[in-house]
Assembly symmetry: C2
Homo-oligomer: 355 residues x 2
């Protein structure tokens, strides 16, 4: 795509939120990016416009049949005042994998990255600079055709909105408590679990809220078929350090292939830490725990980067991990990835894009 | 709920479509019903307003996390000029089951039926009268809070839109060809398959479109765990008449509990036809076919009422059913249910609501 991105600036810039009190995805910047799709025209009319409610037919397919996908990444301001994006090409590749599964037309990933860069430039003053804060970038695509037949929509809208977000843990890394979900399931082979599709998250809310009520911050999903193998956490992939080895569930069609997961795997390999991507059952973890071999557990995802797990609850078993403290490896991974993201560590892997 | 439903009539009534060329869910009437929800207020401000695009924040949760459910039923005009709804109480019960699973607040089903009746009265002139046509009623609920945290929304909108729809089969009942889907899956136990949730349909589009390309009108889903047991068709439940007995998959958490399915079960029992609701494998069906015992296959759903299956395709096997013709029982069920819906047959079961 080579169409020029039109820019219409707001005449009423909003007030910026207090960067010490941002929480997640609650505030939005002054502008947004929009691009339309029609099956006879392809993607067209890319434009940056003031952030505002959209006008959409109540029969738009997204409301009825959930044809919607999204991505999530973060932009950081470096000490030299540049904007840094972390592996945005990976998000675009995943967006197109999601699109393919949901019957949504492919996008030109490079063009969308250009659009994101242009949008961030326009709203650059919104990037918070407090340690741990960043500008969350949310590209998403929705089916807009007003029609109640169940099929792929003929029209779509791709939008990008930006949200200044706080440090996931206000006081640095904090171990979380996680509950292994034994009745609800999130996804299954042959389904849409590997796609970042709206419907997957709707399916997860109830279990997530039940866990919250009981004091857990997230749910750890088991596979839907045998209710035995570890899948992933609410919005993170998960890693276990057992007897010196790091194990994470393999990509199997039902879990999301996280960008942070892939970065962690690369780093561990570079550091010479033995890593395995394979099926991993909850019993294996419990056995390791009983033998005193469950050394560290951590989640990986764009929002928290690395999230150490201090306690894992499975049916009647409570497994405390590393005395509820942050593991050495979790800390090192967190420091390295956030170091690369803030521009404090030099990027030797072509992971960052600055502008 | 007892709040009064405000009515604001359109000043620009639309043009009615040709009732011989309606297709499904393409045209909408002049008005719609809207009601808002806020977690501190409950459902409020029920109103009938001119049908128009809605204005909604791009961060509204429905676009990102798919918290959306819907219902579908039909309104018919009887010979005496009354409007007839078929078992709307069943749709409301199911709506609340869907709500519960998706973390959406309960609605007062009776109140929503009142709202639907009032809306249909306002747009009564839109009910088509050609044989087989009707007014499709689509209540749906979407999460409207602008927030990117993954949790239940604090605000929702319930809307009802109306669409004059054509006869599903322009020339009466027509047997369809169906493909048994062997790789994609629709839902699994512990998931949201039993709910009429937007995400389930997004997950089904790709398989559905692949089947269409190969000349099949719908996909027959197998269970996700053993890939063996019959679940349901795209938007229908399914019944098999084998050696004089009628068998349909039992309600198992992953299929939708169809209102038409339940009506068919009741009618068959009343008629003394042996019926079984149980697990049913595709091999059992193929065996019955080979033994010449596969007498009839039909789908049941609001859109088509009864849809005879003339051909079932499973991997390399093609099973022709009843010489590709409409079975006697399928025809009798179709005649009975459409007879009740049009008001031509007397309702002795309290299934219809006229006004
Ligand atoms: C279900 C799910 N799993 C895993 C992840 C982690 O992926 P990433 O590292 O790309 O953020 C996310 C989202 O961010 C997610 O939504
Ligand atoms: C997935 C699915 N199964 C079955 C049905 C049949 O249900 P009902 O008879 O209530 O229309 C529908 C919808 O109408 C459906 O969407």
């Amino acid at each position: 795509m080579s169409e020029e991105i039109k820019v219409q600036l707001t005449t009423k810039p909003g007030e910026k939120p207090d960067s010490n009190n941002l929480s997640f995805g609650k505030y939005f910047t002054d502008h947004m990016f929009i691009m339309d799709y029609h099956k006879d025209k392809g993607w067209y009319d890319p434009r940056i416009v003031p952030y505002a409610p959209i006008v959409i037919d109540p029969a738009a397919m997204v409301f009825h049949y959930g044809q919607a996908v999204f991505e999530g990444m973060k932009a950081y301001l470096t000490d030299s005042g540049k904007v840094l994006l972390f592996r945005p090409d990976q998000n675009m590749k995943r967006l197109n994998r999601s699109n393919d599964r949901l019957g949504i037309p492919e996008v030109d990933g490079e063009f969308v990255i250009e659009a994101i860069k242009k949008l961030i430039e326009v709203d650059k003053s919104w990037i918070p600079t407090e340690k741990g804060t960043s500008l969350y970038v949310r590209p998403f695509i929705i089916a807009t055709e007003p029609c109640l037949g169940v099929r792929s929509s003929y029209t779509y809208q791709l939008m990008v909105i930006l949200s200044p977000v706080g440090a996931y843990y206000s006081s640095g890394l904090e171990p979380v408590k996680i509950n292994v979900e034994s009745s609800y399931t999130r996804a299954v082979r042959g389904g849409i679990g590997f796609a970042k599709a709206a419907g997957n998250y709707a399916a997860s809310i109830k279990a997530q809220e039940n866990a919250k009520k009981e004091g857990y911050s997230q749910v750890l999903w088991l596979d839907a078929i045998e209710k035995k193998y570890i899948e992933e956490v609410g919005s993170m992939n998960i890693f276990f350090k057992i007897g010196g080895k790091v194990i994470t569930p393999e990509i199997n069609g039902s879990i999301l292939e996280g960008v942070t997961r892939s970065s962690v795997l690369t780093l561990l390999q570079e550091w010479g830490v033995p890593v395995e991507e394979r099926k991993l059952s909850i019993e294996e973890i419990y056995d390791a725990y009983k033998e005193g071999n469950l050394e560290e557990v951590f989640g990986t995802g764009t929002a928290a980067v690395i999230s150490p797990v201090g306690e894992l609850h499975w049916n009647e078993h409570t497994m405390e991990v590393n005395n509820g403290e942050i593991g050495e490896l979790s800390q090192k991974l967190y420091d390295t990835i956030t170091g690369l993201q803030s521009g404090h560590l030099q990027d030797t892997r072509n992971w960052t894009m600055t502008f």
